[in-house]
Symmetry: C2
Subunit: 193 residues, 2 copies
Amino acid sequence: MTKEKLQHFLQRTGFITAAQAEEIAAQFRPRMLARHGMLLEAGKVSDDYFFLDQGFMRAFAYDTEGNDTTTAFYAAGQLVFEVASFFNRTPSREYIQALTDCQGWSIRYQELNALFHARPEFREFGRAMLVRGYAGLKDRMLAMITEQAAARYEALLWAQPEILQHAPLKNVASYLGVTDSSLSRIRKGSSKK
Amino acid sequence: MTKEKLQHFLQRTGFITAAQAEEIAAQFRPRMLARHGMLLEAGKVSDDYFFLDQGFMRAFAYDTEGNDTTTAFYAAGQLVFEVASFFNRTPSREYIQALTDCQGWSIRYQELNALFHARPEFREFGRAMLVRGYAGLKDRMLAMITEQAAARYEALLWAQPEILQHAPLKNVASYLGVTDSSLSRIRKGSSKK
DNA sequence: GGCCGTTCTTGTCATTTGGCAAGCCGTAAC
DNA sequence: GTTACGGCTTGCCAAATGACAAGAACGGCC
């Protein structure tokens, strides 16, 4: 596995040149996860700023009743880490789990911070990643409030069809904010009839 | 109006000393808004990194059916700006509106960026603000999925009772993801009988 | 191959929430 | 004062979604 995808990902934001991307990528180490392996567990402090090169992952948390609720899905080519735990150095409430065998590139908090201090362009990149995640979550929240479950499912199908190929439907259901039974009926096309 | 609250707010994150806070705060300019005045309108680029010293505000957006949906409330002592529009320099989808007469301290994007480049401790502060907002939104999303409307209302009442004193209930309703009729029934205590 | 556990679907019924429309009430305008 | 408007509540009914349980389908494992 080469660092090609990682370098390309760094460049794509526009803040980082090819030469810089190579130097930055050099700081990342390979990280593998077998299917069902955990990148992060609740109670621990997230210490991987992880670029997913191949595979598929999800984040989830248990609510007060003990229900497993999916909070995010990650396809190859995305950054995977728990923002609050990683940057605040606090125990995570979430788990991050490999849904397939995964490989990617990882850097620890200390190293990332050193890079941020040394490289203005990488700081910009880091901020852009935070902003992107934040904006995506806001969109999802707005949809949760204004769209019905069936419409949210359709939108997901359109925007990230890969999810349906890798994640069990019950995880998709909790991500969408419905029960697995309801999702099953939505998929059938007749939510009642 | 003095910059006392702003300076205190800067210090409270732990990254910034009193002396630094004074220097940083010196870069902020006063900004007033009459009740119903707009800090930001959809289509424009957010260019105020605004510390709300006194007053109460809300952010909202129109969904595809034209419904006014409240996306956030802001009490005095909070930072008010639209993250994606401000940092990406893209047109905002949201409005930010004064619910009461407001005053606070504002800095523009260019100036903020200059400060970020010049002052590592302020960068840390800025990142902490992003992370805080992100984490809050994640919590809200989890509650939206796992808690019923009545429970979400109770939680809001417990965590931010000021909102109920300043915002019309229909705004609170859309923030919670319910209709104003439903909120009315929830408040009555008997969501049906 | 046969067993077992998980996932997914489906039926039945209850609960939650929404859509309307009417009415009440307070405030602002004239 | 009277009028007009917006905000809030409430009744009635419909739609959306959940809870629970049974059974089919599938995959891993011995």
